[in-house]
Protein backbone atom coordinates (compact mmCIF):
# COMPACT_ATOMS: atom_id res chain seq x y z
CA UNK A 1 0.00 0.00 0.00
CA UNK A 2 1.19 3.46 -0.84
CA UNK A 3 0.95 6.20 1.74
CA UNK A 4 -0.74 9.23 0.25
CA UNK A 5 -1.72 12.65 1.53
CA UNK A 6 -5.27 12.52 0.18
CA UNK A 7 -7.54 9.48 0.23
CA UNK A 8 -7.66 7.20 -2.78
CA UNK A 9 -10.37 7.67 -5.36
CA UNK A 10 -9.43 11.08 -6.70
CA UNK A 11 -8.85 11.29 -10.47
CA UNK A 12 -5.45 10.01 -11.58
CA UNK A 13 -3.29 12.27 -13.77
CA UNK A 14 -3.08 11.35 -17.42
CA UNK A 15 -1.21 12.71 -20.41
CA UNK A 16 -4.28 12.06 -22.54
CA UNK A 17 -5.50 12.98 -25.02
CA UNK A 18 -2.38 14.27 -26.77
CA UNK A 19 0.63 12.90 -24.84
CA UNK A 20 2.06 16.38 -24.34
CA UNK A 21 2.78 15.97 -20.62
CA UNK A 22 3.98 12.33 -20.76
CA UNK A 23 7.67 13.17 -20.11
CA UNK A 24 6.67 14.91 -16.87
CA UNK A 25 4.79 11.86 -15.57
CA UNK A 26 7.52 9.50 -16.76
CA UNK A 27 9.94 11.68 -14.80
CA UNK A 28 8.01 11.61 -11.54
CA UNK A 29 7.98 7.78 -11.65
CA UNK A 30 11.79 8.05 -11.54
CA UNK A 31 11.67 10.75 -8.82
CA UNK A 32 12.83 13.38 -11.26
CA UNK A 33 11.14 16.75 -11.72
CA UNK A 34 11.09 17.49 -15.45
CA UNK A 35 9.88 20.67 -17.18
CA UNK A 36 10.20 22.04 -20.68
CA UNK A 37 13.19 24.07 -21.87
CA UNK A 38 13.25 25.67 -25.29
CA UNK A 39 16.11 24.67 -27.57
CA UNK A 40 15.60 27.85 -29.52
CA UNK A 41 15.91 30.53 -26.84
CA UNK A 42 16.86 28.56 -23.72
CA UNK A 43 13.90 29.62 -21.60
CA UNK A 44 12.15 27.24 -19.23
CA UNK A 45 8.43 26.80 -19.73
CA UNK A 46 5.66 25.38 -17.57
CA UNK A 47 2.97 24.01 -17.93
CA UNK A 48 3.60 22.07 -21.04
CA UNK A 49 3.01 23.61 -24.46
CA UNK A 50 3.69 22.46 -28.02
CA UNK A 51 5.51 25.69 -28.85
CA UNK A 52 7.74 28.19 -27.07
CA UNK A 53 5.61 31.26 -26.48
CA UNK A 54 8.72 33.46 -26.67
CA UNK A 55 10.52 32.41 -29.87
CA UNK A 56 7.93 30.04 -31.41
CA UNK A 57 10.31 27.14 -31.67
CA UNK A 58 8.62 23.74 -31.68
CA UNK A 59 11.86 22.20 -30.42
CA UNK A 60 11.17 21.92 -26.68
CA UNK A 61 13.39 19.70 -24.54
CA UNK A 62 12.52 18.24 -21.15
CA UNK A 63 15.10 18.97 -18.48
CA UNK A 64 15.36 18.11 -14.79
CA UNK A 65 15.03 20.96 -12.29
CA UNK A 66 15.68 21.24 -8.57
CA UNK A 67 12.65 20.40 -6.49
CA UNK A 68 12.92 23.44 -4.28
CA UNK A 69 11.02 26.70 -4.08
CA UNK A 70 8.85 29.01 -2.05
CA UNK A 71 5.15 29.02 -1.29
CA UNK A 72 3.60 31.59 -3.63
CA UNK A 73 0.02 31.09 -2.51
CA UNK A 74 -2.11 28.50 -0.75
CA UNK A 75 -5.62 27.43 0.09
CA UNK A 76 -7.27 25.07 2.53
CA UNK A 77 -10.46 23.55 1.09
CA UNK A 78 -12.99 22.46 3.69
CA UNK A 79 -16.03 21.73 1.56
CA UNK A 80 -15.59 18.38 -0.21
CA UNK A 81 -16.38 18.55 -3.92
CA UNK A 82 -15.55 14.93 -4.69
CA UNK A 83 -16.88 11.71 -3.23
CA UNK A 84 -13.37 10.59 -2.25
CA UNK A 85 -13.06 13.63 0.04
CA UNK A 86 -16.41 13.35 1.81
CA UNK A 87 -15.79 13.30 5.53
CA UNK A 88 -12.04 13.78 5.08
CA UNK A 89 -11.78 17.31 6.44
CA UNK A 90 -9.61 20.21 5.34
CA UNK A 91 -6.40 19.80 3.35
CA UNK A 92 -3.78 22.21 2.07
CA UNK A 93 -2.94 23.00 -1.56
CA UNK A 94 0.10 25.17 -2.27
CA UNK A 95 1.29 26.99 -5.35
CA UNK A 96 5.09 26.85 -5.32
CA UNK A 97 7.45 29.12 -7.22
CA UNK A 98 10.46 26.98 -8.15
CA UNK A 99 13.94 28.29 -7.47
CA UNK A 100 15.82 29.57 -10.47
CA UNK A 101 13.40 28.81 -13.30
CA UNK A 102 10.48 31.24 -12.91
CA UNK A 103 7.73 28.64 -13.03
CA UNK A 104 5.05 27.57 -10.54
CA UNK A 105 3.84 24.11 -9.58
CA UNK A 106 0.91 22.96 -7.57
CA UNK A 107 0.61 20.25 -4.95
CA UNK A 108 -0.40 19.48 -1.40
CA UNK A 109 1.60 20.73 1.56
CA UNK A 110 2.44 17.64 3.59
CA UNK A 111 1.90 17.68 7.33
CA UNK A 112 -0.91 18.66 9.65
CA UNK A 113 -3.67 20.45 7.71
CA UNK A 114 -4.09 22.74 10.73
CA UNK A 115 -0.53 24.06 10.37
CA UNK A 116 -0.05 27.77 9.72
CA UNK A 117 0.87 28.24 6.07
CA UNK A 118 3.05 31.18 5.15
CA UNK A 119 3.58 32.72 1.75
CA UNK A 120 7.32 32.81 1.10
CA UNK A 121 8.15 29.73 3.17
CA UNK A 122 10.73 27.42 1.60
CA UNK A 123 9.61 23.96 0.49
CA UNK A 124 11.00 20.93 -1.28
CA UNK A 125 9.39 18.43 -3.60
CA UNK A 126 8.38 15.02 -2.25
CA UNK A 127 7.49 12.28 -4.71
CA UNK A 128 4.31 10.45 -3.76
CA UNK A 129 4.00 7.16 -5.64
CA UNK A 130 0.60 5.63 -6.28
CA UNK A 131 1.94 2.19 -7.09
CA UNK A 132 -1.37 0.43 -6.65
CA UNK A 133 -3.05 2.52 -9.33
CA UNK A 134 -3.51 1.11 -12.80
CA UNK A 135 -1.45 2.43 -14.42
CA UNK A 136 0.77 3.53 -11.52
CA UNK A 137 1.65 7.21 -11.26
CA UNK A 138 3.60 9.50 -8.95
CA UNK A 139 2.44 12.91 -7.73
CA UNK A 140 4.70 15.76 -6.65
CA UNK A 141 3.96 17.00 -3.15
CA UNK A 142 5.68 19.68 -1.04
CA UNK A 143 7.19 19.79 2.42
CA UNK A 144 8.38 22.74 4.53
CA UNK A 145 12.17 22.74 5.01
CA UNK A 146 12.70 25.80 7.22
Amino acid sequence: MSTTYLPSGLPAPSSAPDGLSQPFWDGTRQRRLMIQKCSGCGAHQWGPEWICHRCHSFDLDWVEVQGSGRIYSYEKPHHPVHQALSGHGPYVIVLVELDGVNVRMLGNLLGDPAQKVEIGATVEAVFEPHDDADPPYTLVQWRRID
Binding site: S15, W25, G47, S73, E75
Partner: protein, 394 residues
Protein backbone atom coordinates in the same frame (compact mmCIF):
# COMPACT_ATOMS: atom_id res chain seq x y z
CA UNK B 1 -11.47 56.42 -42.21
CA UNK B 2 -14.37 56.26 -39.81
CA UNK B 3 -13.55 55.81 -36.15
CA UNK B 4 -13.75 52.16 -35.13
CA UNK B 5 -16.03 52.09 -32.12
CA UNK B 6 -19.22 50.63 -30.73
CA UNK B 7 -19.93 53.78 -28.74
CA UNK B 8 -23.56 54.77 -29.15
CA UNK B 9 -24.08 52.50 -32.16
CA UNK B 10 -26.54 50.08 -30.57
CA UNK B 11 -28.96 49.96 -27.66
CA UNK B 12 -30.68 47.40 -25.48
CA UNK B 13 -34.39 47.73 -26.22
CA UNK B 14 -35.79 44.75 -24.36
CA UNK B 15 -35.05 42.67 -21.28
CA UNK B 16 -36.56 39.37 -20.20
CA UNK B 17 -36.09 37.00 -17.29
CA UNK B 18 -37.77 33.83 -16.16
CA UNK B 19 -38.63 33.17 -12.57
CA UNK B 20 -35.31 32.41 -10.89
CA UNK B 21 -35.16 29.09 -9.06
CA UNK B 22 -32.84 27.30 -6.69
CA UNK B 23 -30.94 24.67 -8.64
CA UNK B 24 -33.08 21.73 -9.53
CA UNK B 25 -36.32 23.58 -8.78
CA UNK B 26 -37.32 24.72 -12.26
CA UNK B 27 -40.48 22.97 -13.43
CA UNK B 28 -39.46 23.76 -17.00
CA UNK B 29 -36.65 22.43 -19.15
CA UNK B 30 -33.60 24.57 -19.81
CA UNK B 31 -34.58 25.11 -23.46
CA UNK B 32 -38.10 26.18 -22.48
CA UNK B 33 -36.61 28.63 -19.97
CA UNK B 34 -34.54 30.14 -22.80
CA UNK B 35 -37.68 30.53 -24.91
CA UNK B 36 -39.57 32.14 -22.02
CA UNK B 37 -36.82 34.70 -21.37
CA UNK B 38 -36.57 35.61 -25.05
CA UNK B 39 -40.35 35.95 -25.48
CA UNK B 40 -40.48 38.19 -22.38
CA UNK B 41 -37.66 40.35 -23.72
CA UNK B 42 -39.63 40.73 -26.97
CA UNK B 43 -42.78 41.68 -25.03
CA UNK B 44 -40.74 44.24 -23.12
CA UNK B 45 -39.46 45.78 -26.35
CA UNK B 46 -42.86 45.53 -28.02
CA UNK B 47 -41.78 43.32 -30.90
CA UNK B 48 -42.65 39.88 -32.18
CA UNK B 49 -40.08 37.11 -31.68
CA UNK B 50 -40.33 36.77 -35.49
CA UNK B 51 -38.40 40.05 -35.70
CA UNK B 52 -35.27 38.57 -34.07
CA UNK B 53 -32.56 37.71 -36.57
CA UNK B 54 -29.64 36.69 -34.38
CA UNK B 55 -28.53 34.99 -31.16
CA UNK B 56 -25.40 35.45 -29.07
CA UNK B 57 -24.49 33.51 -25.97
CA UNK B 58 -21.54 32.26 -23.92
CA UNK B 59 -20.45 29.68 -21.40
CA UNK B 60 -21.25 26.84 -23.81
CA UNK B 61 -24.99 27.48 -23.62
CA UNK B 62 -26.85 24.33 -24.61
CA UNK B 63 -29.78 26.26 -26.16
CA UNK B 64 -28.20 26.84 -29.53
CA UNK B 65 -29.17 29.65 -31.86
CA UNK B 66 -30.44 27.65 -34.83
CA UNK B 67 -32.69 25.54 -32.59
CA UNK B 68 -34.09 28.65 -30.94
CA UNK B 69 -34.59 30.18 -34.39
CA UNK B 70 -36.58 27.15 -35.51
CA UNK B 71 -38.66 26.96 -32.33
CA UNK B 72 -39.49 30.67 -32.45
CA UNK B 73 -40.16 30.72 -36.20
CA UNK B 74 -37.44 33.29 -36.89
CA UNK B 75 -37.83 34.42 -40.50
CA UNK B 76 -34.12 34.78 -41.31
CA UNK B 77 -31.21 33.88 -39.05
CA UNK B 78 -28.35 36.30 -39.73
CA UNK B 79 -26.12 35.89 -36.66
CA UNK B 80 -25.46 32.82 -34.50
CA UNK B 81 -22.57 33.29 -32.15
CA UNK B 82 -20.90 31.67 -29.13
CA UNK B 83 -18.26 33.32 -26.94
CA UNK B 84 -15.47 30.94 -25.92
CA UNK B 85 -14.76 30.15 -22.30
CA UNK B 86 -16.54 28.89 -19.24
CA UNK B 87 -18.64 30.49 -16.56
CA UNK B 88 -19.77 34.07 -16.96
CA UNK B 89 -16.59 35.41 -18.51
CA UNK B 90 -18.48 35.93 -21.75
CA UNK B 91 -21.61 37.65 -20.47
CA UNK B 92 -20.65 41.13 -21.61
CA UNK B 93 -18.83 39.73 -24.60
CA UNK B 94 -22.05 38.12 -25.83
CA UNK B 95 -23.83 41.47 -25.59
CA UNK B 96 -20.88 43.10 -27.32
CA UNK B 97 -20.87 40.50 -30.07
CA UNK B 98 -24.59 41.09 -30.59
CA UNK B 99 -23.82 44.81 -30.69
CA UNK B 100 -21.00 44.35 -33.19
CA UNK B 101 -23.30 42.35 -35.46
CA UNK B 102 -25.96 45.03 -35.34
CA UNK B 103 -23.54 47.94 -35.64
CA UNK B 104 -21.91 46.48 -38.74
CA UNK B 105 -25.15 45.57 -40.48
CA UNK B 106 -24.69 41.81 -40.21
CA UNK B 107 -28.02 41.63 -38.38
CA UNK B 108 -30.77 43.96 -37.20
CA UNK B 109 -32.16 42.57 -33.94
CA UNK B 110 -29.97 40.20 -31.95
CA UNK B 111 -30.77 38.50 -28.66
CA UNK B 112 -27.97 37.98 -26.16
CA UNK B 113 -29.09 35.37 -23.67
CA UNK B 114 -28.14 32.69 -21.16
CA UNK B 115 -30.17 29.68 -20.13
CA UNK B 116 -28.99 27.47 -17.33
CA UNK B 117 -30.83 24.78 -15.42
CA UNK B 118 -28.13 23.38 -13.22
CA UNK B 119 -30.46 20.93 -11.62
CA UNK B 120 -30.95 19.26 -15.00
CA UNK B 121 -27.26 18.95 -15.82
CA UNK B 122 -23.96 18.73 -13.94
CA UNK B 123 -23.31 21.26 -11.20
CA UNK B 124 -20.25 23.47 -11.41
CA UNK B 125 -19.26 23.00 -7.80
CA UNK B 126 -18.70 19.25 -7.98
CA UNK B 127 -15.63 17.45 -9.25
CA UNK B 128 -16.37 15.14 -12.16
CA UNK B 129 -16.57 11.45 -11.09
CA UNK B 130 -13.92 10.25 -13.54
CA UNK B 131 -11.04 7.82 -13.11
CA UNK B 132 -8.41 10.02 -14.74
CA UNK B 133 -7.96 13.56 -16.01
CA UNK B 134 -5.72 15.00 -18.72
CA UNK B 135 -4.61 18.45 -19.78
CA UNK B 136 -4.40 21.17 -17.15
CA UNK B 137 -6.63 19.20 -14.76
CA UNK B 138 -3.98 16.45 -14.49
CA UNK B 139 -1.90 18.94 -12.50
CA UNK B 140 -4.72 20.08 -10.20
CA UNK B 141 -7.47 17.47 -9.67
CA UNK B 142 -5.25 14.76 -8.08
CA UNK B 143 -4.36 17.35 -5.41
CA UNK B 144 -8.01 18.04 -4.64
CA UNK B 145 -8.32 21.19 -6.76
CA UNK B 146 -11.39 20.62 -8.92
CA UNK B 147 -14.11 23.22 -8.44
CA UNK B 148 -14.09 26.83 -9.64
CA UNK B 149 -13.87 27.97 -6.01
CA UNK B 150 -10.73 25.91 -5.52
CA UNK B 151 -9.17 27.15 -8.76
CA UNK B 152 -9.78 30.78 -7.85
CA UNK B 153 -9.10 30.76 -4.10
CA UNK B 154 -5.39 30.42 -4.86
CA UNK B 155 -5.47 33.80 -6.62
CA UNK B 156 -7.50 35.45 -3.88
CA UNK B 157 -5.17 34.29 -1.09
CA UNK B 158 -2.19 35.87 -2.83
CA UNK B 159 -4.05 39.08 -3.72
CA UNK B 160 -5.35 39.62 -0.19
CA UNK B 161 -1.94 38.89 1.35
CA UNK B 162 0.16 41.04 -0.97
CA UNK B 163 -2.25 43.99 -0.74
CA UNK B 164 -3.07 43.71 2.96
CA UNK B 165 -6.82 43.55 2.37
CA UNK B 166 -9.12 42.46 5.19
CA UNK B 167 -12.02 40.02 4.96
CA UNK B 168 -14.30 42.90 5.96
CA UNK B 169 -14.00 44.15 2.36
CA UNK B 170 -15.27 40.82 1.06
CA UNK B 171 -17.98 40.76 3.69
CA UNK B 172 -19.19 44.19 2.60
CA UNK B 173 -19.66 42.93 -0.97
CA UNK B 174 -21.73 40.00 0.23
CA UNK B 175 -23.80 42.12 2.60
CA UNK B 176 -24.62 44.65 -0.13
CA UNK B 177 -25.81 41.92 -2.49
CA UNK B 178 -28.01 40.29 0.13
CA UNK B 179 -29.35 43.70 1.19
CA UNK B 180 -30.41 44.54 -2.35
CA UNK B 181 -32.04 41.14 -2.85
CA UNK B 182 -34.46 41.68 0.03
CA UNK B 183 -36.55 44.14 -2.03
CA UNK B 184 -36.41 42.07 -5.23
CA UNK B 185 -39.39 39.74 -5.72
CA UNK B 186 -37.43 37.58 -8.21
CA UNK B 187 -34.37 37.20 -5.95
CA UNK B 188 -33.84 33.65 -4.77
CA UNK B 189 -32.43 34.94 -1.46
CA UNK B 190 -35.31 37.33 -0.78
CA UNK B 191 -36.50 36.75 2.75
CA UNK B 192 -33.09 35.47 3.81
CA UNK B 193 -31.27 38.61 4.98
CA UNK B 194 -27.61 38.42 5.90
CA UNK B 195 -25.80 40.27 8.66
CA UNK B 196 -22.20 40.52 9.79
CA UNK B 197 -22.54 37.89 12.50
CA UNK B 198 -24.08 35.36 10.11
CA UNK B 199 -21.33 35.98 7.58
CA UNK B 200 -18.59 35.63 10.19
CA UNK B 201 -20.12 32.45 11.61
CA UNK B 202 -20.71 30.82 8.23
CA UNK B 203 -18.75 27.71 7.43
CA UNK B 204 -15.55 27.70 5.44
CA UNK B 205 -15.77 26.59 1.87
CA UNK B 206 -12.06 27.31 1.52
CA UNK B 207 -9.78 29.00 4.03
CA UNK B 208 -8.54 31.68 4.31
CA UNK B 209 -11.04 33.86 2.38
CA UNK B 210 -14.03 31.87 1.09
CA UNK B 211 -16.85 31.71 3.61
CA UNK B 212 -20.13 30.22 2.45
CA UNK B 213 -21.47 33.72 1.74
CA UNK B 214 -18.51 34.62 -0.46
CA UNK B 215 -19.64 32.02 -3.00
CA UNK B 216 -22.36 32.32 -5.60
CA UNK B 217 -25.44 30.17 -5.75
CA UNK B 218 -26.21 27.56 -8.39
CA UNK B 219 -29.59 28.14 -9.98
CA UNK B 220 -32.07 27.42 -12.73
CA UNK B 221 -33.35 30.16 -15.02
CA UNK B 222 -32.84 32.15 -18.19
CA UNK B 223 -32.38 35.78 -19.14
CA UNK B 224 -32.22 37.70 -22.42
CA UNK B 225 -31.62 41.18 -23.79
CA UNK B 226 -32.49 42.53 -27.26
CA UNK B 227 -29.87 44.58 -29.09
CA UNK B 228 -30.99 46.96 -31.85
CA UNK B 229 -29.48 49.81 -33.91
CA UNK B 230 -29.23 53.06 -31.94
CA UNK B 231 -31.02 55.03 -34.65
CA UNK B 232 -34.08 52.78 -34.17
CA UNK B 233 -33.87 52.61 -30.38
CA UNK B 234 -36.67 55.11 -29.82
CA UNK B 235 -39.09 53.09 -31.96
CA UNK B 236 -39.48 50.57 -29.13
CA UNK B 237 -41.70 50.94 -26.10
CA UNK B 238 -38.82 51.14 -23.61
CA UNK B 239 -36.23 53.76 -22.70
CA UNK B 240 -33.03 52.81 -24.55
CA UNK B 241 -29.87 51.82 -22.73
CA UNK B 242 -27.06 52.58 -25.16
CA UNK B 243 -23.93 50.48 -25.39
CA UNK B 244 -21.04 52.88 -24.82
CA UNK B 245 -18.28 50.28 -24.91
CA UNK B 246 -17.47 46.61 -24.58
CA UNK B 247 -14.17 44.91 -23.98
CA UNK B 248 -13.32 41.24 -24.02
CA UNK B 249 -10.28 38.99 -23.86
CA UNK B 250 -7.53 38.58 -21.33
CA UNK B 251 -4.10 39.68 -20.29
CA UNK B 252 -0.78 38.37 -21.62
CA UNK B 253 -1.01 34.57 -21.45
CA UNK B 254 -3.83 34.63 -18.91
CA UNK B 255 -4.68 31.08 -20.01
CA UNK B 256 -1.16 29.81 -19.28
CA UNK B 257 -1.48 26.33 -17.74
CA UNK B 258 -1.16 25.32 -14.10
CA UNK B 259 -1.42 28.81 -12.58
CA UNK B 260 1.54 30.13 -14.59
CA UNK B 261 -0.10 33.25 -16.02
CA UNK B 262 2.54 35.98 -15.70
CA UNK B 263 0.25 38.48 -13.98
CA UNK B 264 -0.74 36.43 -10.96
CA UNK B 265 -2.96 37.02 -9.12
CA UNK B 266 -5.42 38.80 -11.32
CA UNK B 267 -8.95 38.78 -12.64
CA UNK B 268 -7.69 39.33 -16.24
CA UNK B 269 -9.18 42.77 -16.95
CA UNK B 270 -6.01 44.85 -16.80
CA UNK B 271 -5.59 45.13 -20.55
CA UNK B 272 -9.22 45.42 -21.57
CA UNK B 273 -10.44 47.93 -18.97
CA UNK B 274 -8.45 51.00 -20.14
CA UNK B 275 -9.35 50.34 -23.78
CA UNK B 276 -13.02 50.03 -22.83
CA UNK B 277 -13.01 53.31 -20.91
CA UNK B 278 -11.36 54.94 -23.93
CA UNK B 279 -14.14 53.66 -26.18
CA UNK B 280 -16.79 54.89 -23.75
CA UNK B 281 -14.98 58.25 -23.42
CA UNK B 282 -15.43 57.93 -19.68
CA UNK B 283 -13.19 57.60 -16.66
CA UNK B 284 -13.89 55.22 -13.77
CA UNK B 285 -14.95 58.21 -11.66
CA UNK B 286 -17.78 58.91 -14.11
CA UNK B 287 -19.43 55.50 -13.61
CA UNK B 288 -22.69 55.81 -11.65
CA UNK B 289 -23.62 52.17 -11.05
CA UNK B 290 -21.52 49.02 -10.83
CA UNK B 291 -22.73 45.49 -11.55
CA UNK B 292 -19.84 43.12 -10.91
CA UNK B 293 -20.06 39.37 -11.34
CA UNK B 294 -19.66 37.53 -8.08
CA UNK B 295 -18.55 34.01 -8.68
CA UNK B 296 -16.69 34.73 -5.46
CA UNK B 297 -16.34 38.02 -3.57
CA UNK B 298 -12.57 37.96 -4.00
CA UNK B 299 -13.09 38.14 -7.74
CA UNK B 300 -15.28 41.20 -7.31
CA UNK B 301 -12.52 42.84 -5.30
CA UNK B 302 -9.87 42.18 -7.95
CA UNK B 303 -12.19 43.27 -10.77
CA UNK B 304 -13.06 46.55 -9.09
CA UNK B 305 -9.35 47.25 -8.66
CA UNK B 306 -8.50 46.35 -12.26
CA UNK B 307 -11.30 48.57 -13.56
CA UNK B 308 -9.99 51.52 -11.54
CA UNK B 309 -13.14 51.67 -9.42
CA UNK B 310 -11.30 50.97 -6.17
CA UNK B 311 -7.61 51.32 -5.35
CA UNK B 312 -6.15 48.20 -3.76
CA UNK B 313 -4.61 50.19 -0.92
CA UNK B 314 -7.95 51.86 -0.19
CA UNK B 315 -10.12 48.75 -0.43
CA UNK B 316 -10.43 48.31 3.32
CA UNK B 317 -11.83 51.84 3.70
CA UNK B 318 -13.92 52.06 0.51
CA UNK B 319 -15.53 48.62 0.47
CA UNK B 320 -18.10 49.06 3.24
CA UNK B 321 -21.78 48.08 3.14
CA UNK B 322 -22.80 51.76 3.32
CA UNK B 323 -20.76 52.68 0.25
CA UNK B 324 -22.09 49.77 -1.79
CA UNK B 325 -25.81 50.07 -1.04
CA UNK B 326 -28.34 51.86 -3.23
CA UNK B 327 -29.67 54.48 -3.28
CA UNK B 328 -27.28 56.52 -1.19
CA UNK B 329 -23.96 54.68 -1.44
CA UNK B 330 -20.97 56.15 -3.19
CA UNK B 331 -20.75 53.14 -5.49
CA UNK B 332 -23.99 51.13 -5.59
CA UNK B 333 -23.02 47.53 -6.35
CA UNK B 334 -25.14 44.65 -7.65
CA UNK B 335 -28.36 46.49 -6.95
CA UNK B 336 -30.69 43.56 -7.65
CA UNK B 337 -28.72 41.10 -5.52
CA UNK B 338 -26.37 39.72 -8.16
CA UNK B 339 -25.13 36.17 -8.46
CA UNK B 340 -24.92 35.86 -4.69
CA UNK B 341 -28.47 36.71 -3.78
CA UNK B 342 -30.66 37.31 -6.85
CA UNK B 343 -29.68 34.44 -9.12
CA UNK B 344 -26.55 32.93 -10.59
CA UNK B 345 -27.77 33.66 -14.11
CA UNK B 346 -24.14 33.77 -15.22
CA UNK B 347 -24.22 37.54 -14.96
CA UNK B 348 -26.92 38.26 -17.51
CA UNK B 349 -29.11 39.31 -14.59
CA UNK B 350 -26.47 41.98 -13.94
CA UNK B 351 -26.78 43.31 -17.51
CA UNK B 352 -30.55 43.42 -17.10
CA UNK B 353 -30.25 45.26 -13.80
CA UNK B 354 -27.90 47.78 -15.40
CA UNK B 355 -30.57 48.41 -18.07
CA UNK B 356 -33.24 48.91 -15.39
CA UNK B 357 -30.98 51.39 -13.58
CA UNK B 358 -30.40 53.36 -16.80
CA UNK B 359 -34.15 53.34 -17.45
CA UNK B 360 -34.86 54.45 -13.88
CA UNK B 361 -37.09 51.45 -13.18
CA UNK B 362 -34.90 49.47 -10.78
CA UNK B 363 -36.25 48.34 -7.43
CA UNK B 364 -33.18 49.71 -5.64
CA UNK B 365 -32.85 52.69 -7.92
CA UNK B 366 -29.66 54.74 -7.78
CA UNK B 367 -30.10 58.49 -7.89
CA UNK B 368 -27.25 58.80 -10.38
CA UNK B 369 -28.11 56.67 -13.39
CA UNK B 370 -26.51 57.87 -16.60
CA UNK B 371 -23.73 55.30 -16.76
CA UNK B 372 -23.51 51.70 -15.60
CA UNK B 373 -20.63 49.27 -15.87
CA UNK B 374 -21.12 45.51 -15.99
CA UNK B 375 -18.12 43.29 -15.27
CA UNK B 376 -18.33 39.63 -16.26
CA UNK B 377 -16.84 36.46 -14.80
CA UNK B 378 -13.61 37.55 -13.10
CA UNK B 379 -10.62 35.16 -12.92
CA UNK B 380 -11.75 32.93 -15.78
CA UNK B 381 -10.35 33.64 -19.21
CA UNK B 382 -11.46 35.18 -21.48
CA UNK B 383 -13.43 37.79 -19.54
CA UNK B 384 -15.53 40.74 -20.68
CA UNK B 385 -17.01 44.02 -19.49
CA UNK B 386 -19.33 46.64 -20.90
CA UNK B 387 -20.59 50.14 -20.18
CA UNK B 388 -24.18 51.22 -20.78
CA UNK B 389 -25.41 54.78 -20.84
CA UNK B 390 -28.56 56.85 -20.97
CA UNK B 391 -29.37 59.16 -23.88
CA UNK B 392 -27.81 61.97 -21.84
CA UNK B 393 -24.51 60.08 -21.74
CA UNK B 394 -24.13 60.00 -25.53
Amino acid sequence: MAERTLRGKVAIAGIGETTYYRHGKSPDSEFKLALQAIVRACEDAGISPHDIDGFASYGGDRSDGPRLAAALGIKTLRFSNMFWGGGGGGVCGAVGNAGAAVATGMADCVVAFRSLAQGQYARYGRGAPVASVGGDAAFTAPYGMMSPAQMFAMKVTRFMATNGISDTALRAISLACYHHAQNNPNAVMRGRPLDEAMYDASRWIIEPHFHLYDCCQENDGAAAVIVVPAEQAKDFRTTPAYLLACGQGGDHRSAAPVHNMPDYPGSHFKALAPRMYDMAQLSPAEIDIVQCYENFTGGVLMSLVEHGLVKADEANEVLTPENLKAPGGKMPLNTSGGNLAECYMHGLELVIEAVRQIRGTAINQSARRDTAIVIGGPMVTPVSSLILGSEASL
